[in-house]
Amino acid sequence: MASRYPAQPSYVLVVQDDPILLMMMVEFVENAGCEAVEATTVAEVIRLLETRTDIRTVFTDLDMRGSTVGMQLAITIRDRWPPVELIMISSQPWEAAKIPARGIVLGKPFDRRKIEAAIRTFAG
């Protein structure tokens, strides 16, 4: 993508309801050379994805209020916007079968190297 659209910035939709963690996640996206688009609710995510076709990657925390909300969102995105890449973080391990196709789950606390490398790979 980067080679096809070199002038175009890569937009990464960062989904996080905790403002402090949101700051850190935005930093990771920016360090990876991408543009961060912030969302704090599921509804916001849906609206943004429906309107912003330039968002090709979603970087979301699965541990959002309401235990299964994060994963539900990821599944919904994979269903409705199959091309969108999914980078997820979680404080708990997930079974591989439950993770949406092409998705990646990284742990908490953050391993900066792995996260930034993943963003570069998917969105950079």
């Binding site: 402090i20 963690l21 700051m23 973080i89 404080s91 742990g107 908490k108 606390p109 900066r112």
Partner: protein
Amino acid sequence: MSRPATPSVSDPQRLDALTSYGILDTPPEAGFDGIVQLACRLCDAPVALVSLVAGDRQWFKARIGFPPCETDLNRSVCAHALAQPDDLLIIPDLTADPRSADNPLVTGDPFIRFYAGAPLRTPAGLVLGSLCVIDKVPRPEGLTEVQQADLRLLAQQVMDLMEMRRAVTARDSLRAADAQAFRTRDALRNTQAAIAAAEGDLDTVLHAVVTGAMQAVPAAQGGVIELLSGQDLEYRAVQGVVADHQGLRVPLNGSTAGFCARTRQPYLMIDASSDPYVKRDLVEMLQLGSAVFAPILSGEAVLGVLKLQSSLPVAFDERDLELAGLFAGAATTGFAEAKARAEVRANDTYWRGLFERLSEGFIVGELIRDAQGRVADWRFGEVNSAWGHLVGIDSTAARGRTIRELFLGIEDEWVSEFARVVETGESSTFTRQVGVLRRWYEGRAFRIDDNRFGVLFLEVTGRIEADARRAALLNLGDNLRDLRTIPEMIAIAAEVVGRTLGATRAGFGRVIGDVEAIEIEPDWRAPGQVSIAGRHVFEDYGDIRAHLQRGEPLVINDVSTDPRTRDHAASLHDIGVAAMVNMPVRERGRTVAVFIAHDVNPRIWTHEELAFLRNVADRVEVGVARVRAEDMQGVLNIELAHRLKNTLAIVQSIASSTLRNVAEREPVEAFERRVLALSRAHDVLMQKSWAAAKMHAVIESVLSMQAEKDRFALDGPDLDISAQATLSLSLLLHELATNALKYGALSADSGKVHIAWRTEEAGAAALVLDWTEVGGPAVTPPSHRGGFGSKLIRMGLLGTRDTSISYDPKGLRAEFRAPLTEFQAQVH
């Protein structure tokens, strides 16, 4: 026949000789009568006599023509014959002879005139009398020569007859004496035989003595043994005329029998009417004429008196007294026998009584062999009553039957072991169940002879079952502690209950609602029984809710008779339930579950069995509660882990934001990674509820965030290490690996790190960890003390500072030590 008696008349020798023939006063006999007839005829005389001259009279054994059978000696002519033993005495005219002229028989009736007598002379020459002929007319011519010779011959015939008669009499009396002696011996023998056969029965003995005595003493009309009883003598074994007086008591003082008893001497009562000792009123009552009494003695003591009596006076003589003594002696023997027998019997009774009173079962068995001589069975001989009690079969019904008959399908060991005892002679001790009775016995078997053995035993079912229950509870406790899931626990507990109680089904069910229904978990069943797992409504099986609602066990020994279930017995029988227990499990005052035991046959659930079931139910409940608590703990741990990790992520975020304006990003990243290492340590710890961790897992987890696994070689025991050690080890290795990546072996592609650890038991046990880098660039010691990382390394494991670092040019080597007790997790 002349007046003065010749001196020879009174010759005692002659008189003794006469007496010895025993002929005086005997009845007429044909032989003598024939002789006097012949004498009359031969001498042509009207009178002939066999005249015997006694001391005071003459007596005629045979006579013709002369009525009197005897005369006094004044009238005797024959007496004169004694004076001429060798020849006939012939007096042709008695009136003319001075020896007879005055004889009344001459001077008066019958006016005899002629006499001729031949002497009756014994072989010793003594004249006993004469054979004489008499005429009433004088015979001046006397007798002819022939007549005289005939008379002498006839006199000799008389003597021969008398001799013969005497011999016969002597023989007869000898025979009589023999017969009497025989009778006595026979009677005595019979008596002794009867006594021997009496087997010590006193009444039989006494009866035999009296019978024998009466047989031996024919004069006895009645016989009795009067036994000493206090100050009385009591009539026993009464026979004959006293037969109606059994039990009569006569005083020891004041009766003839009493006199006999007191003097211990036989006593001949010649005439009761004049007896000085007799109790007068007895004389008439017993029709007592005379009697003999003989004491029955035992050593010095008197046991009683044998009395033989007759209604006639003077019925007994000394000989009878002697016989009575003989039989009294037999009675003594009989008494001794009776006493000995009684002692034996008492002894026998004693031992038998002892065996009967034993609380142990006692039996004597006799082996039964098959055609090949192998022991196939055995038969009950002696069986005491305790046996019946312990086995539940009437003891008397067992005698004579075999064990295989009595207990169909009994274990072979009940035969083979006792056979071995008989064959080897070695006693054996056993503890074994009779399966068909479901009862356990412990005992000792011993050999009696080639074919028999004895067994003394007790029932130990209670103890064995108690042991089994105790063992089952222990076993269950161990199992429940190790099991991690509730279904596993229930399955194990059900099996333990089923096998231990010998039930046919056991299970556990969750109660639904207010004891309305039950959801039964998969149950344990004896072979052939169906599972009742699934939902059941209590009311379908009778009125059985109430107990469980109250939290009391529902115990039914027989569903077909118990009022709570008898109307629903069929539905219970359909699922193989004849007896049941439902043991409630309570939670906060409600019955939430039930432990179930069923039996396909009616049975009495004992107090101990119910207690056991209660115990199992409690343990299962405790186990279930523990598993639930652990599950809950697990959920909490996971939740806590999430929060911790999330919080650490926030800490990273805060640090990163705070240090946003710091130009150098390296310390920021180092911080983030230390947090990450700490989190990895927690990850490993969480798997064991934060109490311990596996050492390999800890090391691999923290190193995996630094480099590929194959860069590290681990060598050491996979210890369970404490939470503190986990955190300390993780942070230490993180710093060492970070340095190795920057400056050491891991900075080069070929570099590796060996991590080896061991425990040292010498002295204070310690863990020793070696970090050895190889294949990296040449090492030089750092020029400064370094920062947080270096400090952490120097602090070592668990902050012991027991650290030695060697900057070998070929690679860094470090050794860390920590007390093993703190390093290692305390495994519960």
